[in-house]
Amino acid sequence: MRHSFIDKYSDLTTPIHALHPRVKLLVFLALLFYFAAVPITWWIVGLNVLGLTLGTLIARLPFRFVLKRMMIVLPFLVLIILFIPLFQEQSWTDAGITAARAFCSILALILFMSTIPFRVLLDELSRLGVPKFVIQVFSFIYRYFFVLIDELERMELASRARTPNRSRKHYYTALSRMLGMLIIRSYERSERIYQAMQLRGYDWEESEV
């Protein structure tokens, strides 16, 4: 099974990686605020993108990697841009600016998430007072996301092996069933994981994760 990790480039040694995690986190949050709220023109958008691109170059993140990450979010972005002028009384230029803001935020997010090990990020969030519960949920998502993807891929493979010529409709019906199965299996797995945690003395009230 192929695996890519959100933080697989997080242990390189570049000036950006070397920044203290808290500094990085605060700069990132400040940038998000700036992209979202401060009025901008196309000139400034250009400068922002240039700055962020420079950042990814300094962090030595492969271009393809950044592009792939972008592709996950871009479809949503495109939808939003199409819908703004259609349903709200705003011009295409406004929509363009909104898109640019979102684009910059995504680029900043990719740059940030790829240069900080996920574990370090969780530690830092925890120190900044994010509730234990949220940290635990993130930690489990990080650990089990790819286990679930693997499981889905195996089911998909098994289904494909038994349906040599399937139609698109058939595919989507099968996929929705598989997702249902995945939820049940995940539920059962979560019970086993909880048992494993209990066996090692875990108690929700007292223990830290």
Partner: protein
Amino acid sequence: MTSLIEFENYTYRYPDGTTALSGFTMNVEQRERVGIVGPNGAGKTTALLALSGLIFGEGTIRIDGETLQKKNGRQLRSRVGLVFQNPDDQLFMPTVYEDVVFGPKNLGWNAAQVDKAAKEALDAVELPGYEQKSSHHLSSGEKKRVAIATVLAMQPDILVLDEPTTNLDPHARRRLMQLLASLEISTIIAGHDLELILELCTRAVIINNGAVIKTGEPKELFQDKLLMEENYLEVPYSLRKVREDVY
């Protein structure tokens, strides 16, 4: 002298009414390695879960003379080191180190003790230097050994393994067997890997339909073709007198 583990007339029914264990009685002595074998659905895993205080049925389970009850379950549970069949269920933390220290930290040990226990456990399973690795990147054999380390770090009285050699290639299986042989700790091994039990265990317990059918020296039990076949098992290859091509 009391046995380390005693099951006495233990019965467990699942909520749907299926009886998984009925009148289950067996014991494990100090420093003994016992193999529990039986067909699928015989009650092996249920017995291990009950021993770990994760499920409660009727009858008695004693750990080192103390009766396992709901109220002391949490405390006694930490003395039983259960290694799950699927290490992905057992390794839930982002890094190997965090997984290994999870138990000791919950036992309330201080930082130095926790660190020492983790180091010793990883040394015992021959994986020093794996601290910062992510469990998801490990091979099945490595995952299994890390899972054992997470349990050893808590210094349990007994190590309990559910189908330990599932998904392991012959080399990883052999290393695991050497590891288990090197650990000086009471051990229960449940599963179908009869050759492993033959090599490692001093006693075997054949169970079927939730009850103990026969207990004895592994070689003696496993040679009994009729007994084995009645319980949906087979005589291990190494014990067959005639090495037929087709069994």
